[in-house]
């Protein structure tokens, strides 16, 4: 295979680039781009369910991800995020329903799906005893990247994540953030249509997390790609074009972060009191407000928080130690749709499904 762009036609008659082009002046390559960004959704999911024995991990979900979008799956551990991603990546078979990734059916066209997706798992899947470059080379060979394209593409993805200078170091000498970056580079190596990131920043310190996000946002401007990610960090969901909130195996809301926040409309007030139970009953009797204890504070929503707080001090007999008012965040969105905060949902660890999910997150 030579360098430069050649167009070939595969068995299904779809036009595709056979080898590499290295510049914007490649001519015929433009049609390839047009082919990729066509209106066809990058992911389409229809009435998907997955049960493990008695446990319904996914209970009938439907959604579409548009080509070029960054789409986030937000929910507590065990909500069904990892199971869904496994089905979309053809690592698990759906119990019922169907899904298409890059136009290919996950049930019947496994290999075609796999060729068109990049995967970054929660747990590292690098070989620590190989160098960064050797890990990428291994991937390129397994995914059949055309020989002429391997070297330039490797350089490109390594430079994208700032690891080109460290390519010949053993992976065991990389920091956690560098390993995650190398995995992202590897996931991009075969130029997939859809990149799946399963909790891309879990287990990393806050500074490294934000740097990983810089790389992800940067790659959106360089690569013609759709990103599907799962997270249980609210602040990370803000990076997405659209998010789906998933809880107990069902999608409870799906929209842009802005629209979801606007739909809540209320400010969140949290107060610390000496007697939470008394405060809650007083809030109900004096103001007609339904409050609950979340994250150790009495929490409720009102339309304009700043104006409400003076009334609160005037009329509540229970002494208040501290008060905070916050604009609607995705936390509030999550709470208004599921009735709990994501941290509380995580804290109740005795949920059978959650344990099941933990087991399936483990290695096969």
């Amino acid at each position: 295979m030579g360098a430069g762009t050649r167009l070939g036609t595969d068995r299904r008659g779809r036009r595709q680039a056979v080898a590499a082009d290295t510049g914007p002046d490649a001519g015929p390559g433009d049609t390839v781009v047009a082919d990729r960004t066509e209106a066809r959704p990058a992911i389409r999911v229809s009435e998907l369910t997955k049960t493990y024995g008695e446990i319904e991990a996914v209970r009938g979900i439907d959604f579409e991800v548009r080509a070029g979008e960054t789409f986030g799956f937000l929910g507590p551990n065990g909500a069904g995020k990892s199971t869904t991603i496994k089905i979309l990546c053809t690592l698990a078979k759906p119990t019922s329903g169907n899904a298409w990734v890059a136009g290919r059916n996950v049930r019947t066209e496994r290999d075609a799906v796999r060729r068109n997706i990049g995967l970054v798992f929660q747990d590292t899947t690098l070989d620590n005893y190989l160098t960064g470059a050797q890990n990428l080379r291994f991937h390129a060979e397994l995914y059949g990247v055309p020989a002429a394209a391997v070297a330039p593409r490797m350089r490109q993805v390594l430079e994208m994540v700032d690891l080109w200078d460290r390519r010949d170091s053993l992976v065991m000498t990389y920091s956690g953030g560098m390993q995650r970056r190398l995995e992202i580079a590897r996931g991009l190596l075969h130029a997939p249509h859809v990149l799946f990131l399963d909790e891309p920043t879990v287990g990393l310190d806050p500074q490294t997390r934000s740097s990983i996000w810089e790389y992800i946002n940067d790659l959106k401007t360089r690569e013609d790609i759709t990103i599907f990610l799962t997270t249980h960090y609210m602040d990370e969901a803000e990076h997405c074009d659209r998010i789906a909130i998933i809880d107990h195996g069902k999608i409870v809301a799906i929209d842009t972060p802005e629209a979801l926040k606007a739909s809540v409309g209320k400010d969140r007030v949290q107060i610390h009191t000496e007697n939470d139970a008394a405060a809650i009953s007083e809030l109900a009797s004096a103001f007609g407000i339904e409050a609950g204890v979340h994250e150790g504070a009495v929490t409720f929503s009102v339309t304009s928080g700043e104006q409400f707080v003076p009334q609160l001090f005037a009329r509540l007999t229970v002494p208040i130690a501290a008060v905070s008012v916050s604009r609607p965040s995705l936390d509030d969105v999550f709470m208004s749709y599921t009735g709990t905060t994501i941290r509380d949902a995580e804290a109740t660890g005795n949920d059978a499904m959650r344990q099941m999910a933990a087991r399936f997150r483990g290695r096969r």
Binding site: L130, H139, E141, L142, R153
Partner: protein
């Protein structure tokens, strides 16, 4: 068009793609072996102990059974070389369990290549490494009074390659089912020594009690140690009668199994075990 993007389109699955996968899985084993020189050295220690300590220590006892001018070390040399291959092959199969624990196995299993390509690559990789380890032992032939005859050495290397492949396939088959490293090591440790002791590496297979005779005949190692000893003995400068006494061949109820059949048995076992491993790895959730 995004500036400067290298366009890649991954081709459909083909035989060529699977061969590339076999090749890279095989090369990875070699890269890792090359980096682990300590393992190559430590793997030599046990066979060397058997050859020189046990071989020298038992020499006076064994003297009565040996033809004049042939040392006991020469007699056990083929078995000890096979032993070094045995250890290395099983350990290299253990890398699958290791890969599973560290997640790398998943990188291989999600790739759009057939699982057989990955299993075959692993078996060939392990076989190559184990054969290389056997060759290191063969270099010591002179110290066991085995001549450095090119024909002999080539024959032995070929037989070692076959043995290494079958043993790696055995290890890979086990690693496909046993997912915990400790369990795998415990089980293989339990099997390695019996395989070695029952192979006739240290004693002749003639005149054994019935139960031991049966056990030695079901040990796959027997069918490689026999031909290897035959090759070594036929290159010694001794009478045909002495040769036959040292290497009577593997017998089934008095019938001497020909060398070609011995080797076919070993190859068939290897292929069968590799097939089982492929089937096991091909199952998904």
């Amino acid at each position: 068009m995004l500036a400067g993007q290298i366009r890649v389109s991954v081709p459909d699955r083909s035989l060529r793609a699977d061969l590339r996968a076999v090749s890279i899985v095989w090369r990875r084993e070699l890269i890792r072996f090359r980096r682990d020189r300590l393992r190559a050295v430590t793997s030599l220690i046990q066979p060397v102990l058997f050859l020189f300590i046990l071989g020298t220590g038992l020499a006076s006892l064994a003297k009565s059974g040996m033809p004049p001018g042939v040392s006991f070390k020469t007699f056990i040399f083929p078995g000890v070389v096979a032993m070094s291959v045995l250890f290395t092959a099983i350990f290299s199969a253990a890398s699958i369990v290791w890969d599973r624990e560290f997640g790398f196995l998943r990188e291989m299993l999600v790739a759009p290549v057939s699982r057989s390509a990955i299993v075959i690559g692993k078996c060939l990789g392990g076989a190559t490494i184990a054969t290389f380890q056997g060759i290191l032992m063969l270099l010591l032939a002179g110290l066991a009074d085995v001549p450095y005859n090119p024909v002999l050495l080539i024959t032995l290397v070929g037989e070692l390659l076959l043995l290494a492949f079958t043993l790696t396939a055995f290890g890979v088959m086990m690693a496909a089912r046993i997912t915990q490293f400790q369990a795998f090591m415990a089980l293989t440790q339990m099997l390695v020594m019996p395989l070695f002791f029952l192979s006739g590496a240290l004693y002749p297979l003639t005149g054994l009690p019935g139960w031991l005779s049966v056990l030695t005949r079901i040990d796959p190692l027997t069918y490689v140690v026999g031909p290897m000893r035959h090759a070594v003995v036929s290159h010694l400068n001794i009478s045909p009668i002495a040769q036959r006494a040292l290497s009577p061949g593997v017998t089934w109820d008095g019938w001497v199994v020909p060398i070609w059949l011995s080797l076919v048995i070993v190859a068939a076992m290897g292929l069968a075990m590799m097939s089982v491993a492929i089937v096991t790895f091909s199952k998904t959730e």
